[in-house]
Symmetry: C5
Subunit: 262 residues, 5 copies
C-alpha cells in the first residue's frame, strides 16, 4: 500500500470502479437481458458519471474504446482474466503488461488473486511482478482478492473474506476488492484486517436497488471505501439512476431511503 | 483492436485471408485430391487474385516462397500451429516470433487461441506477448478463436462462437476468425459481441460452390467482414473461379446466384 | 555466510527478529485473542524496543507502515510466503524482489526453504537467485529452514533440525532460523552443523513466559545467536515486558529467573 | 528454407552428413563391433573424404576433436539430443546454443523434432528459437524430423514420413532428415511434400553394402538430396570404401552395381 | 572438453578433488563417526595437502571458509546439489551461478547429471548453460555423471559407467566423475568411451585403506586420471595419512603396498 488519495482512482478517499470485464470472464450470456450492454460504449458512457472513479476493462476493450473517452473517464486496466470455458483449478491469464497498460493510458491496474487455488503461488508471483512494475509507473494496484479452489469450503464466509482482505495488505495492493461477507460486522472485520489498504466491495450479480444499496451502505458504514460494480449498473435499463444513488450513499453518506427517493 | 482499415490486410473494410497452413495442421492428407496443391507456389499464385488481401502461412513456407511474390501478395504470418500428430489437449506451438515475421516481410500476424483447452491460459499469455509486440511493429493481429478441448460440448454452437468472437475483442485482436455458427442470426450475434473487432468466417472443409458461397453471403449480411479460407479455394481445380465469385460476394455485395453466374 | 556482525540485523553478535508475517501465513485467526495485534503499527511500536534488531514483514506491510518507523526500526523483508489456504505440497510464493526490498529500505532479507518438500528444488533455486542478488545489495540473508512435506516423518526431531541448520550453511544463508529441537543438546548439534552461519530459534506458538524463556535460554547456552519470534511477543497483552526479559536473556546472559524477576 | 547451395553443407546441390552422435543417443553399445569406432578421431578422419559435406556431432565432441580437423572437415553441430537411459515420452535436451556452436566453428546446425510426442510443442518452440538464431548467424538448419511417441502407430509409414518432411518445410528447416519410407515412391511423396526444403535419408542401422546403397539410390532417384549416415559408415571396418561408393551414387549418379564394382 | 592441463584443477595431468558437499547431499549423519569432520575448516586444512588439486564444496561453505584458505587451496564450486530429504525422481537444484562462483574465487566448477532420471533433460539443459558460461570464465567443468532413477536397473554396472563417461564427453565436460565399475577392465572401458575427457573415480563410502587404494590403483592403471574423494579422506581420523598414500599412487605410480608402507 502506498498513498493513492491523490490518484484518479480515488475521489474524496472513496473508490467506485465500474467493472466491465464480464465479456471475458462470463461471456455473452451476461448481456442477454440488456442486449445493448454488449456494446462497450454504453458502459463507457455510464463511466462518465461523476460517481465513477474508473472503468475496469481488459486490454482489447481499452484499446478499442478508451481513446474516445480518455478525457472523461479514468481507466483501470484489468491485467489478468480468463474465460469461463476454462475447466481447471481457478487461474487467470495475464493478458496485458503493466507497460502496455500505461501506454494505453491506464490510471490504475487490477489483478485477480485466487488464494487457495492450486495456482495461488503462481498467481502471487505474477502479482509481485505486476505490483513492482506498477510502482515504477506510479499506477495504483487493485487486487481482486477471491479465495477460491480446492479446499475452499465457503468463499464468502466472514473468515475467508477477512483473510482475502489481509492478503491484499500483505502482498502490497492499494485497494482490496472482496466479496460482501453478508453483514456489516463481517465487513468491519475485513476492513480491520486490511489495515491501510482500502477495501471495496465486489458488486456481484444483479439484485434489487434496495438490496444492492443496503449492502453498499453496510460496506461504507463498516469502513469500506467503496465499490467495484458491474452487473448491478450496466445490467440495469438505466445505469445513471443507480449511479446517482451510489453517489449519494458513497460520497455523501446518505441513507438508502434517501438515495432511493431521488 | 486498433484501426487497421489502412493496412494491407484490409480492402474496402473487408478481409479475405487465403489460409495455407494445412500442411502443418493436417498434414499431406489435405493435398491428396489435388496433388499440385502441395506446392505452395500454386497458392501464392492464387493469392495474387485481387480478392485476396493476404495469404496466411507458417514461417517456413514464408521464408521459402514469399520472396518471389512479395510484390504481388500480402503476407500474414501465422505465428503458432501444431501437427495433428499431437495427442494432448488442444495447444499450439509458437513457431515464429513477431520480430522474425516482420523481418520476413509480414503485413499482419495470426495466432490461434483454444479457449476452454487446458492450455487456454498459457496460450492467452503467449497471445499477450505477441499482441503487444505486434503493436510495436504496427502489424494487425488476427485471432483464430477456436474454443476447443475438455469441457467443450459443442464448438460450433451459436453460444460458443459468440464467446469466441468476444474473446478476440477482449484480448485485443483486430480480426476474429471464427467458425460459421450455422446461420446468419448466429453470425449476427457473434458480430455484435465482437464490437469493433472485425469478424471473419473460417472457411472449413471443402463443400460445393453454392453451399460455400451461401455461408459467405450470410456472414457478410450478418455484418461479418469477410473470410479466411483455405481448402475451399486451393482444393478446387480452379482457385481463380471461386475467388472471382468471392470477390463479387464480399466486395461488391452480389447475390450468390449472381456470383455463380459469372 | 559472509560477516554480518556490523549489519543492523546484529547487535553484539546476537539477533532478535520480531516476525510479523502471520497475517499472510496463518491469516486473521492469529489476531483473535489480541484483536489490536492485527494492526501492524502495534508490532512496529514493539520493534522500537532495543532488544529487537529487525522486524520481519511482507512487502505490503513494509510499504504501508515502515516509512513511519524507518528511523527507529530495522527492516527485514520476508521475500516469500504463502497463505494457509494453499493445499499443495509445502511451497512459498516469492512476493518481493530483492531490488524492491532494497528500495523500500530493507536492512536484511528472509526466505523460507521447505527441505524435503516436492518443491524443495524449485525453492532452492529461487533462494540461489535471492541470495546472490542480496550479496550485490549487501543485505544479510536469513533462511527460514523448515524441512516439511512428503516423506518428513518428524519435522522437529533433532536430526531434522540439524539438517535444516546445515542446509542454511551449505546454501549460503547468513542466519538459519530453525525450530527448537526440544533440548539444549539438540540445539548444540544444530549449531555445530551450521558452522559460521548463526542459528536462531523460531519462536513458535504462544506459551507461558517461563516456558518460552527457558527455550530461549537453552538456545543461547547451546551457542545459538538469538531468536525470531512473533506470537510469543505480539500475542501478549504487553509485548514490552517479554522483550525486556528477552533482552536480559539474549544480550546480558541472564538466567530465566533473573529475567522474570524484573 | 533459405538458399543454402553455397554453404559448406552442400556440394553440387547434394548433402552427405556423417552423423556421429550415437555415443549420446545410443551409448557405447554402438561401438561394440568395431571398438576403435568409439574414438571420434576415426570418424573425423572419415569425414575428410570428399563425399562428406559435414560431420554431425554433439558439442563435447566438437570442442575436443574439431580443432584438429577444422581445415579439412565441415562441422554440423547437433544442438539437441538425449541418452537412451531416458524413459519418458520422446524428448531431446538442448545441449548447445547456436551462439556457442558458431564460436566452436559450426558450418550448420541440427535439431531433432519428435512430432507426435507429448513434448512436440515444447520441442517446436525450442526449434523456433534455434532456427531464428541460426538465421542471424547464417547457419543452415537441418531438422531430424522423426515423428515418434504416444499415438504414433507406425513411424516409418509413407504417410508419417511425408508428414515429417512437410513439418520441416513448414517450420523453416533447410534440410529434412527423415527415415526411409521403404520405397522410391514413398520417398517421392516425401520429397514433394518438402517443397524447397532438401530431403535427406537417415542411414539407420547397419546393413549390407548393396542393401544400403540401393536405398540411397532410391532416395536420389526420388529427388532426395542425399544422406545423413552414421553406423553404415563408421560401423564398417573400412569407412572409405563405402564413402567411395556413396560418392559415386550421390554425386555422380552411378548405379549401385557400378558403385560396388570399384 | 578443452585443454585444462594448465589449470589449477590438474597436477601433472592428474586430478584429486577433495569433495565436501555431503552436509548438503547426505546431511549431518555423515559426520557422526568423526564429529569434528562437521567443521569445514578440517577439510580445508586437509586440502592444503599437495596431493589435493581442488576442494569441492557448495556455495555457502565456499563463502564462509574459502577466504581463509584461498592462498593454499584451489576451489571447485559444486554448482548443484540437493538434500536427501528430497523424495522425487533424482534431481539437483542449481545452488550457485557460474558468475558468482567466479566472484568467490572458484578455479573450476562441478555439476551433477542424473542420466536416466525423469529430470535428465532439464538437468542436461541446465548443464548446457553452466558449461557455456564456464567457458566464458575459463573455468574447467567437472561432471558428476551418475545415471540414476526410473529404469536404471544397476547404476554401477560396467555398461552404465561407460555410458556415464561417454555422456560427459558428448556434453562437453572436461572431467567425468564416475563410480567405480568394480574392475580395472570396467574402468578401461569407461576411459576409452570418455575420449579426451579425463575420467576420475568417485570415492564412495568409507572402506579400508587397502581396499580403497586398490580401487584407486586400478583406476590409474586403467587410464583414469585420478579421484574425487570425500568420506574416504575426511571420515578418517588422520586425513593426511591417506592423502600421502594417494599422492604416491596417483602422482608417483606407486603400488598399493609401497604406498601403505610409508
Amino acid at each position: 500500500m502506498i498513498p493513492i488519495d491523490d490518484s484518479p482512482l480515488v475521489r474524496d478517499g472513496k473508490v467506485l470502479i465500474l467493472a466491465y470485464d464480464h465479456g471475458l470472464e462470463h461471456g455473452p450470456v451476461d448481456f442477454t437481458d440488456v442486449p445493448e450492454s454488449a456494446n462497450p460504449e454504453r458502459t463507457f458512457e455510464a463511466a462518465t458519471h461523476p460517481a465513477v472513479t474508473t472503468v475496469a476493462v481488459q486490454k482489447g476493450i481499452a484499446e478499442a474504446y478508451y481513446p474516445s473517452y480518455e478525457d472523461d473517464v479514468n481507466l483501470l486496466m484489468k491485467l489478468n482474466g480468463t474465460s469461463n470455458l476454462w475447466m481447471g483449478e481457478p487461474d487467470s491469464a495475464v493478458n496485458c503488461s503493466v507497460e502496455y497498460a500505461y501506454e494505453v493510458g491506464a490510471d490504475a491496474v487490477g489483478f485477480t488473486l485466487y488464494g487457495g487455488s492450486n495456482h495461488e503461488i503462481e498467481m502471487a508471483e505474477e502479482f509481485r511482478a505486476v505490483q513492482e512494475e506498477a510502482r515504477a509507473y506510479e499506477l495504483p494496484v487493485v487486487m481482486w482478492s477471491y479465495p477460491r479452489g480446492q479446499g475452499l469450503k465457503n468463499d464468502t464466509s466472514e473468515t475467508t473474506i477477512a483473510y482475502a482482505a489481509r492478503l491484499a495488505l500483505e502482498l502490497g495492493a492499494d485497494v482490496a476488492k472482496v466479496k460482501y461477507p453478508g453483514s456489516k460486522e463481517g465487513m468491519e472485520h475485513a476492513v480491520r484486517m486490511a489495515g491501510k489498504t482500502k477495501v471495496v466491495m465486489s458488486g456481484g450479480s444483479k439484485t434489487t436497488d434496495r438490496e444492492f444499496l443496503e449492502s453498499v451502505k453496510a460496506v461504507m458504514d463498516a469502513g469500506g471505501k467503496g465499490l467495484a460494480v458491474g452487473r448491478n449498473v450496466w445490467q440495469r435499463e438505466d445505469p445513471t439512476r443507480i449511479l446517482d444513488a451510489l453517489e449519494r450513499v458513497i460520497y455523501e453518506g446518505a441513507s438508502v431511503d434517501a438515495a432511493l427517493e431521488e
